[in-house]
């Protein structure tokens, strides 16, 4: 009976979402406060019933209820408990339920944390999120019900969760990624609400900024986790593959990065309002497009779920309604939202705009590359895909330009800059980074790499320009401490995130250039030299895990005769059958990783072993952590806290309406 309750609560949540998408929206037009105020309780109800459905599905996994088809397909009796729980989102139906739960969660967060929003804005925002939820509820209920039963012949044991997914990464990567993906629905809803009301002022930007920043932080962490997981789990030592599904998650990040920057300008200067609206729509549309690509089977990918044409048709129709509808609304209403001030070529606005455009261009290239097989096929050109070199070529160049402009732009003033005064703060970091760039590649082993020289110059330019900017800012204060205390949290957020970008840039490029990987044959007891290290395979033993057998190699790594580490790479055969899984063993370090994966046993008892030397690979994820941390610091800025007088007026209906007086003095942009 319990799974049926799960289905019932899904249906109740769906009905509440329908009400949420209609009543508060209608209320915002006819001015009925009760209708508008219902948004909060409807949102809470939607969340509670979705959470209940999710809890019931989790319970079905926990109790091994194989009468539920989804459980039978994705779990079995011997699966360790933590993977039984994470198997809830290990397949299409359950991950969709997680999607909806997170959407309901963000809606609830908006309704709880936005007490100071004008009621009509809140009503519209929540209504729009309700509309998105309606689409997804219909999708799950009609095409992908996770509570479908196998009756009357209940299997005694389930299939298995794909062994690749039986990993710590699976527990946290999807929820984080979805938090990011789905979180952009909030700024999307804010944008639609603004288009409907024609009211897009700096207060609007201030309300949507923390939401956008937090979604962006989650997505950044989600992507980094995915990359880290691929790195240690797939056994290839690669951390990015330009796989269609990776791209699907990366595109919202690229456009979202543009969005957080135009939002900043819209808030502070009242410019680029149309850009902001458009990017808000694009970011969320790309999240939806990602859902379409992953779940419809139009592209081949390692991540794709079992495809089903009806699902594809459904999401495409939904995508057409949401994206087509919002872009039509944009086309019809956007001109009413005008920017109110101009700026010079040498201003922070100009540089930010340039970088935003580069991010959009990059996202478009990624989109084109991802959809190219599909487009070529539809046009009858043939079955062609573009492959990694194509992506790398444009991506590296575009990001190099971003890095150059970033260092200059962050130091400029809003509106207009007297370059003579900035120059003395930009020349030293520029010279130092050029010096580092030309000097350091000569220190490393091997031939001098021009690519590394450029990468180090650009990376250190981003880092040093940020540091010099802080020095410039505090130079007017009496002491460094006093100067640092005066700077706002959002400024610190920017500096930290930009430093993260620089670290990530250094990590990705230097790792690509200096990685050393080779497949070697190791004879037990015979050391082998590779890339300055000595590897010795002591023995290979067979062990048993909870649901697999494994061959475990015991490898000593030495440098100049001194033991550095002992690595134990595994090759696993899961009881449920399927392919051999490689569990690489990694000795992680700040400057390098040593990565050893066990291959096949060769005819004479030797083992094929894959050895990677990965310089600064950790910097890639460290950079991502810094970027996300920067975003989080910016959210904590007191500007977004309730530092405003709230006057409460009690209306005849008994509903409180909060009229707020925000601190508008720092906004140069006119409030319309």
């Amino acid at each position: 009976m319990i799974p049926e309750f799960g289905q019932l609560s899904l249906i109740i949540a769906f009905l509440l979402a329908v009400c949420l998408s209609i009543i508060p929206m209608a209320g915002s037009y006819n001015g009925r406060l009760v209708w508008m105020a219902s948004a909060r309780s409807l949102t809470a109800g939607m969340f509670v019933f979705t959470a209940l459905a999710f809890a019931i599905l989790t319970w079905a996994f926990y109790t091994d209820d194989f009468s539920v088809k989804y459980v039978a397909n994705h779990s079995n009796l011997v699966l360790p408990i933590q993977y039984k729980i994470s198997a809830v989102w290990g397949g299409h139906e359950g991950s969709l339920l997680l999607w909806i739960l997170i959407l309901a969660g963000w809606s609830l967060a908006v309704s709880v944390l936005s007490r100071n929003l004008p009621l009509d804005v809140l009503a519209r925002v929540l209504s729009v999120m309700g509309m998105v939820a309606v689409g997804f509820f219909l999708f799950i209920i009609f095409t992908s019900n996770p509570f479908d039963r196998i009756l009357p012949n209940i299997p005694h044991d389930g299939g298995d969760l794909n062994p690749l997914l039986q990993d710590f990464g699976m527990i946290i990567h999807p929820p984080m990624l979805y938090m990011g993906y789905v979180g952009f629905s909030v700024v999307f809803a804010f944008a639609i609400a603004a288009l409907l009301s024609g009211r897009l002022d700096s207060a609007w930007a201030r309300w949507s900024r923390p939401w956008t920043n937090s979604a962006w932080c989650f997505l950044t962490i989600g992507l980094a986790l995915g990359s880290w997981w691929a790195y240690y789990e797939l056994g290839w030592g690669g951390w990015w593959f330009w796989d269609p599904v990776e791209n699907a998650a990366f595109m919202p990040w690229l456009v979202g990065t543009g969005l957080i920057h135009t939002l900043a300008m819209t808030e502070k200067r009242g410019v680029f309002k149309n850009w902001t609206l458009l990017l808000a729509i694009f970011t969320f549309s790309l999240s939806l497009l990602g859902t379409f690509l992953v779940r419809s089977g139009v592209l081949t990918s390692v991540h794709a779920f079992a495809s089903d044409p009806t699902r594809g048709v459904f999401i495409l129709v939904f995508l057409a309604i949401v994206v087509g509808g919002s872009l039509s609304l944009f086309a019809l209403r956007a001109q009413e939202v005008k920017s109110t001030s101009g700026f010079d070529l040498l201003s922070r606005e100009a540089f930010l705009l340039a970088n935003t455009i580069i991010f959009i261009v990059t996202a478009n290239f990624v989109l084109l590359g991802t959809l190219y097989p599909l487009i070529a096929d539809a046009l009858g050109i043939g079955k062609i895909s573009v492959g990694e070199p194509w992506f790398n070529t444009f991506f590296v160049k575009l990001m190099a330009v971003v890095a150059m402009l970033m260092g200059v732009g962050a130091m400029l003033n809003w509106k207009k800059t007297d370059y003579g005064r900035i120059k003395k703060w930009q020349i030293p970091p520029l010279l130092i980074s050029i010096w580092l760039g030309s000097f350091l590649p000569g220190v490393f082993e091997g031939s001098y790499s021009v690519g590394a020289a450029i990468a180090i110059t650009l990376g250190s330019w981003v880092l040093l320009a940020s540091i010099w900017d802080v020095r410039r800012k505090i130079s007017k204060s009496a002491t460094a401490g006093a100067g640092l205390a005066k700077l706002s949290l959002s400024y610190y957020g920017m500096i930290v995130a930009h430093i993260g970008f620089g670290v990530c840039l250094l990590g990705t490029s230097l790792n690509t250039i200096y990685s050393d990987q080779r497949d070697v044959r190791l004879t037990i007891g015979e050391p082998l030299f590779a890339a300055g290290y000595e590897y010795e395979l002591l023995d290979v033993t067979r062990t048993r895990g909870q649901n697999f057998f494994a061959d475990v190699g015991d490898v000593i790594v030495r440098k100049k005769g001194k033991e550095i580490t002992r690595l134990r790479p595994q090759k696993r055969q899961y009881f449920s059958g399927g392919n051999m899984m490689t569990e690489a063993a990694i000795d992680a370090g700040f400057f390098r990783d040593i990565y050893v994966a066990l291959g096949d046993e060769l005819d004479n008892g030797d083992w094929a072993v894959r050895i990677h030397f990965k310089p600064v690979v950790r910097w890639i994820w460290l950079g991502a952590i810094f970027m996300a941390l920067g975003g989080a610091i910016a959210i904590a800025d007191k500007r977004y806290r309730v530092r405003k007088k709230v006057t409460k007026q009690v209306h005849s209906e008994g509903v409180e309406k909060a009229t707020e007086v925000t601190e508008g003095t720092e906004d140069l942009g006119k409030v319309q």
Binding site: W236, G238, F241, N274, L278, I281, F282, S285, F292, S296, G297, V298, L299, T300, P309, G312, V313, L316, L319, A320, V323, G324, L327, S328, F330, A331, L332, A334, Q335, L371, P373, L374, I375, D377, A378, G382, K383, I384, S385, G387, E388, P389, R518, D519, G599, D600, A608
Partner: protein, 172 residues
Amino acid sequence: MNRFKLFIPLIIFVVLAVFLWRGLSIDPSYLPSALIDKPVPAFALPELHKPERVVTDKEFAGEPYLINVWATWCPSCRIEHPYLNKLAEQGVKIVGLNYKDEDEPARQWLTNYGDPYHTTIVDKDGRLGLDLGVYGAPETYVVDAQGIIRYKHVGVVDERVWRSKLAPLYNK
């Protein structure tokens, strides 16, 4: 004009949606067999180890061979590489097609992992790949003694694939 500008995103989306709609009725894993039972397309491309030498389709006639499409940017190619080495040891003639790749890393790759190829052709701009209908790397074609393509396998070649699909045609 200004008004029209605002419709551009919508128009782009509509075009995109049409393609996505078409995409739904196309199976991405289905591959055209247009070239099956047709001769290998004519080509004249440089050799990887001696770039000044031009290799043409004529010089392989007379005995059956495999064309293996590979690249250093393709992780799956590394998976199948040891097995190709094994096949080459057994005397199977494999012609490598280094697809959209850089020469130096490709040579380095063959030095590191072993060179199973009778000849390695460099198809830098993917022209021959386009003629062959290459979808991605790795791909392996079985060509008979008359230079007719008999089979195309997409993905990694391993013992199972060789035994069940390629060997029967190769040995015929």
